[in-house]
Symmetry: C2
Subunit: 428 residues, 2 copies
């Protein structure tokens, strides 16, 4: 890529509130031009175009049909940012890769195993990549913990926990009013609908698809009462007052890994509660746990010995700086863009742009994308079978067995990163 080409041409598909926000954040990343926008709702497409114009003084092409966009613009595009619904983003990603574009896909689980395989095949056949925009991989805490784990501070990791525990009753129940896709999913589906926020960082920590892989998914869903009770308190939702919801209020999922680790996930979005991703990781030397009044850490012999009692929690925040990930150290130094979710949206988009600019494999590749997303479809199968474990396909077709950790650049999610970071600094 010559000097002149160091701006990538991107089309943004899906411009609801999240898509619009991600597009604006993307425009904060150096080297990005948005030349086309698309949403099936014309008002959203127009709003997106206006936002681009306001920022860049260039009016992008406007579409309400992504197929038309790909047909007309595909050849001149480098990449597509796809922020449509959970049940549409995969097919759009596949079509975009086949039209010659790299894809950044907003998160969401898979509706079928077929769509996961199609993503993999499209990427392998076209040489284009599909990167799930799992922003939580770039969260400051998650990265510091990753950094600590790679330095051996937790010993051998044997168990991780995570969840998406977020009171979304209003967003779900008013889905028709606010054009949000969750409502129909909660009415019809039952499973771990939104696994990747904590599963992404955990998968990277455990080396999934690079010497490790998910083996089985087991899910159990409890009863669904939260939305029904909520709806009775909302006069505007009279038309939903007898609606039956299939999605259990709390869905427990356990994933086993080839190297013997277990991952426990909880999906919990239809009950009143404070937000939590419930991250915990446990190894032979220590433990970290997200907690209501301060995230907690205990590392045997290092953190947690006080007043004669050698098993005390310490506040992670009191120690985080010591273990700061190099990427975050630099980011804090340069000034964090707090636009989206404490800065992690900017980082995950930067990682994507960096990969497109360099034509290199992104830190979250299509095998990661497929494996993480597949947990949703598999968990629905397991729930339907009363919690029976179902096997996770090996999307790498055996390559996971000897794939090395992928070390490249400051956005790398494989290794301690001190080295990558230095290399990258020398390069810049």
């Amino acid at each position: 890529m010559d000097e002149q080409a160091k701006t990538i041409r991107v089309a943004c598909i899906g411009l609801g509130p999240r898509g619009l926000g991600q597009m604006k954040e993307l425009l904060n990343v150096p080297g990005v031009g948005v030349c086309a926008v698309c949403d099936q709702c014309e008002d959203r497409a127009l709003e997106g175009a206006a936002a681009v114009e306001e920022r860049t003084a260039q009016r992008p092409a406007i579409y309400t049909d992504y197929r038309r966009l790909l047909k007309k613009e595909g050849e001149s595009l480098d990449a597509v940012l796809c922020c449509t619904t959970w049940i549409t983003h995969s097919r759009i990603a596949v079509d975009a890769m086949r039209a010659g574009c790299h894809v950044a896909a907003e998160v969401g689980g898979a509706a079928s195993m077929g769509e996961c395989w199609e993503l993999v095949r499209a990427s392998e056949e076209t040489g284009k990549f599909c990167m799930l925009l799992e922003n939580c991989c770039y969260d400051r805490n998650e990265m510091a913990l990753f950094h600590m784990q790679r330095q051996g501070l937790f010993g051998e990791v044997v168990h991780c926990e995570g969840g998406y525990r977020h009171d979304l009753r209003e967003e779900i129940a008013f889905g028709r009013e606010n054009r949000h896709g969750r409502l129909a999913n909660f009415i019809h589906r039952n499973g771990e609908l939104y696994p990747t926020h904590q599963l992404g960082p955990i998968a990277k920590l455990l080396g999934i698809n690079r010497g490790n892989r998910f083996l089985t998914v087991s899910s159990i869903a409890g009863k669904a009462r939260g939305l029904h009770e909520y709806i009775q308190t909302q006069p505007r939702l009279e038309y939903l007052k007898n609606q039956v919801f299939n999605e259990g209020d709390v869905v427990d999922t356990t994933i086993t890994c080839a190297n013997g680790e277990t991952i426990h996930l909880v999906h919990d979005c239809s009950l009143p509660r404070p937000y939590s991703r419930g991250y915990a990781l446990q190894g032979t030397r220590g433990i970290y746990q997200e907690a209501p009044f301060g995230n907690a850490i205990f590392i045997e012999g290092l953190l947690g010995k006080k007043e004669g009692w050698d098993h005390s929690w310490e506040k992670f925040d009191d120690h985080r700086e010591k273990f700061e990930h190099p990427l975050w150290a630099r980011y804090l130094d340069e000034g964090v863009h707090f636009g989206g979710h404490g800065g992690m949206d900017f980082l995950v988009l930067s990682a994507f742009v960096d990969a497109v600019l360099c034509g290199a494999t992104p830190p979250i590749d299509v095998y990661d994308t497929a494996a993480w997303m597949s947990v949703t479809a598999l968990s629905e199968q397991s729930v339907a079978l009363g919690g029976a474990p179902v096997p996770v396909p090996d999307f790498t077709n055996g390559r996971w067995i000897d794939r090395e950790p992928f070390r490249r650049g400051i956005y790398c999610l494989e290794d301690v990163c001190g080295e990558c970071f230095l290399e990258s600094n020398l390069k810049n």
Copy 2:
């Protein structure tokens, strides 16, 4: 029972550290005489006898064979306190009931489904009861939460969590040296070996065996590394340095209930960590969560609305007094016996003695005992099947369907207890 008979005659079987402690605590309960002690280790039996003599000036009969004890003393005994190992206490309990004694059994899971059924049959056929001494049912927090739930503060409860997360590496690994039974269990078994501490209070909360029941148990065990690593650091344990342990460091178990609730349990005793029982309960109006820097509560519209943000955790301790269970209110008023585990050992033993004195069903009956203990054997089956759900038998043979909550006395674990408490106060 006439006035003169208001002392019950008890034999204590199993006098390791826990058995000795429980026997001493039992002697704090008014109306108890210990007339016989038994341990297969003679030194422990003698130590137990000395403890009784020191406290009561009466030397009890001493046995090293519980069968001989039951044969010689059975007819004159009211009850047996059984604190032997996990894999012996059921058979002793069965023999004791058949010898005419009520039984208080220290906690521990079942090794087989057969032994659960034997407990139930022995109790039904003899009219003697078998009460699992699940002290956590009488913990101050658990009782306050129970009280709150019965008053509807959490709305409809849909999900509970609990665990036994306790670094027992030293106790387990030095099992030969300290004559502790856990070592052999961790070498040979793999499952939820110690479920009842949190499952007991949860089962009471959910009305198990009285209009609700456990349906399935699904368990997944991760790899076993904690004990092996620990043993390498202990020169005295050279003989164990190549020992393979079957028990996974972390075992995740999910239990489904007839009324749609789910219960998630974690067994986690062979990694370095601070102690936790990980209690959480979640309903349509609120949530409670045990947490490292203060137990946390959120009740929609009541607790947790501050500074414009209506989803904040509050510290449970700041509110506990408002929701104190009547039994604990009285206990605090009278002065807590902190001898065992913050007072709850005294309460669970008092509940047992109260039931024996009154000849009434105890608050934890044989169906509770069997159902709670069965989770261990069922979880081993599920682990062996890769996490497949296995059905929980109905030990009541259908009686659970219309069994009413059991309301009697201040130790009742079924209802709000305000009423029972008043009745009981009027009686005393």
